[in-house]
Amino acid sequence: MKVLMFGWEFPPHISGGLGTACYGLIKGLNVHNQEVIFVVPKLYGDEEPLADFVNASDVEVDYREKKFQDTWANLTYLEINSYLVPYLGQEEFEKYTDYTLHHRSDIEETVFSNKFEFSGKYGKNLMEEVARYALVATQIAKVKDHDLIHAHDWLAYPAAIAAKEISGKPFIAHIHATQFDRAGQGGASGPVYEIEKAGLRAADHILAVSHLTKKVVVEKYGVNPDKVSVLHNAVLDASIIKSEIQKHVPEKIVTFLGRITYQKGPEYFVEAAKKVIQRDPNVRFVMAGNGDLLNKMVERVAELGMGTKFHFTGFLKGKDVDDMYAISDVYVMPSVSEPFGIAPLEAVRHNTPVIISKQSGVAEVLRNAIKIDFWDVDAMADAIFGLLHYPSIAKMFKELGSEELKNLKWEHVAAKLVTVYEKLHNQKP
């Protein structure tokens, strides 16, 4: 099978989990001898050669051709008035909303330039890039032979729709996160939501990263459940990571590691911390990450009078992330809404027992973890206290968790994906 796949980022240049998931999936597909043409807005040249990479920035498009103009006309309805960027909070988002609304470039400006240099980031020109990406997809679909189109998240849906117009091949929309996860309490609306809806409507089949996400797709986007398959994520490497790092504090460490935004439920972690410290002062809590709720969390920690026991590290990367997992005695992911959530699996690789919210997709695949409702601060505190004080349960989770991890392989995921591919391919000869 020859798959034309549209993504937005690819390791090592990633800013979210989307690139990592694409990487794992392609590695898995390689095991099953699938040919993948992987398109990204921008390539850096140091990507692992796992697929036939196409750098959208290199593709020449003659903007005078009518079919391009049609595609463009269909896309210029894009406006920004919602949470556009999955990895930003509202405050950061508003900073450039204004810019985008007043600086919309028009196709005429660049009518004689053939190439467009994508940033491939989640910047202020994101909507324009998404639209141009679709233009480029039209060209790629014309010149690259393929059997199927597979697009990751809304950023790539317009590209997939445009490609399908050209080649008529089946289109699979892969959902890693929906606007409902990102937007929080306000609910989803605006152009991202519109693009998601259009993408899911145009798709011949849909892949959701969890049953939780499938439920959202069916209930909130009105999609026929028969059209949706669940394809859980996996881990690239299930081996246990032996760390050299020594922790320098005598207390046990309980960690939250992720973006400090509404979606991740940081405030429930803070409240649970207070309850634990009241019973056992010999614990340190760490909130690692950055986000629009950081300052609010700092204030709450001070208000609760636990500033010398609850620490903030700011954004961590690379070795610091590994070190943080390694010195943690418990990892907590209290997400309010998490389509999948790969971080707890990383914690398990470091032999750290995890507590995850029932509102996360990863809860469907990780059996040996404590699962709580994100809002149930008492249950969270009980679970933390239990894992810290009753070594037997922590030990059991460590052993069983790492055993379980071995089955969460991308090649297993890819095997399932291949059956979806084949079924779809045979339906539409």
């Binding site: 922790k247 320098h248 504090v249 005598p250 340190r284 760490v286 690692a288 950081l294 300052n295 700092v298 204030e299 920690v301 001070a302 208000e303 009078g305 500033g307 010398t308 026991k309 620490h311 903030f312 590290t313 700011g314 610091d320 070190d323």
Partner: protein, 402 residues
Amino acid sequence: MRTICFYFQVHQPLRIKPYRFFDIGDDHYYWDDYSNKSIIRKVAQKCYLPMNALLLDMINHYNGKFKVSFSISGVCLDQFESYAPDVLESFQKLVATGHVELLNETDAHSLSALASKTEFNRMVNAHKEKIKRLFNGYEPKVFRNTELIYSDKIGEMVADMGFEGMLTEGAKHILGWKSPNFVYENNINPNLKILLKNFQLSDDIAFRFSNKSWSDYPLTTEKFGKWLNAVPKEQETVNLFMDYETFGEHQWVETGIFEFMKALPNMVFSQTDFTFSTPYEVVKGGKPIAKINVPVPISWADEERDLTAWLGNDLQNEAFAKLYELEDKVKKIDDPEIQRDWSYLQTSDHFYYMCTKFFSDGAVHSYFSHYDTPYDAFINYMNVLSDFILRVESKVKEMQAT
């Protein structure tokens, strides 16, 4: 006889280096040597060295009729010893003229007066000893608390330590209709005379001097002389209290601030009936006009003239409470590094950096802070404090074992 009393605050905190969670329990050195040194050197070049040279000239030129006073914090003196012996020497020369008074304060420029009498006394004595050692046995008679923080109770503690005078802010809400241009007495112990800052005339120099949108810009000595003459005849003392960094650092050399100061004494002697005095001379010379009633602490900071710049939000209160919880334990520990860090961690600036008053509209009050936000300041300080607590606990355990 009417007189002008100049007092300059000389202070630089020991800034904390970026200190991460991973450093807790591992790295026990908290101080940002590089930035502390470079700031001291920068301010030395712009302010301390040229202004000290100018003052020395003026004192010599007027044969001692022009005089000033300083309060140099202990944490600043320590940094002069390490990074700027030339600055220290220039202060020593000034004091040696006999026309420069040094005031006593808390060694670390701390808020200890608000936390613990014992610690406050210890800090004051440490500063006294430091001045004695560095300035040829000099003994201050007048006290100036950190950022002019004062209340009846604080005044009583200061009087108990034998001081005869103390400086504070002429805060409007304390004075009401009263004038700051008199000597007052502490409400509890009348042996302590209180000098109040004339914030109008002080801030004309310290804050408004180079402000082009100020209706009285530019400020000339003639204009200043007119304002001095406008002070009612019966009012005897005009206390001009300000940061020493006003000269060359807050007001750059290009503003003409040095020329203004150079020309000021001549104008005062020729066009007004004012002289210059140091705080102790004022305390000895003037008759106190009344008791001053300050039940709630005041300071010279911001419009509110209260403590909210240091202890006004949850972050500051939490850091302050956690720090002073350690006092009893630290007192028992005989370890020079623990004692040093205990002092330096008390410096009021650490709490000032956590102030969110100016942060509400996103415009950070960043001039005096090296942190991006008050939250960063809090996180960094609490990480350091957490490590310090571990060290204190382990020393206490060690002592119990032996």
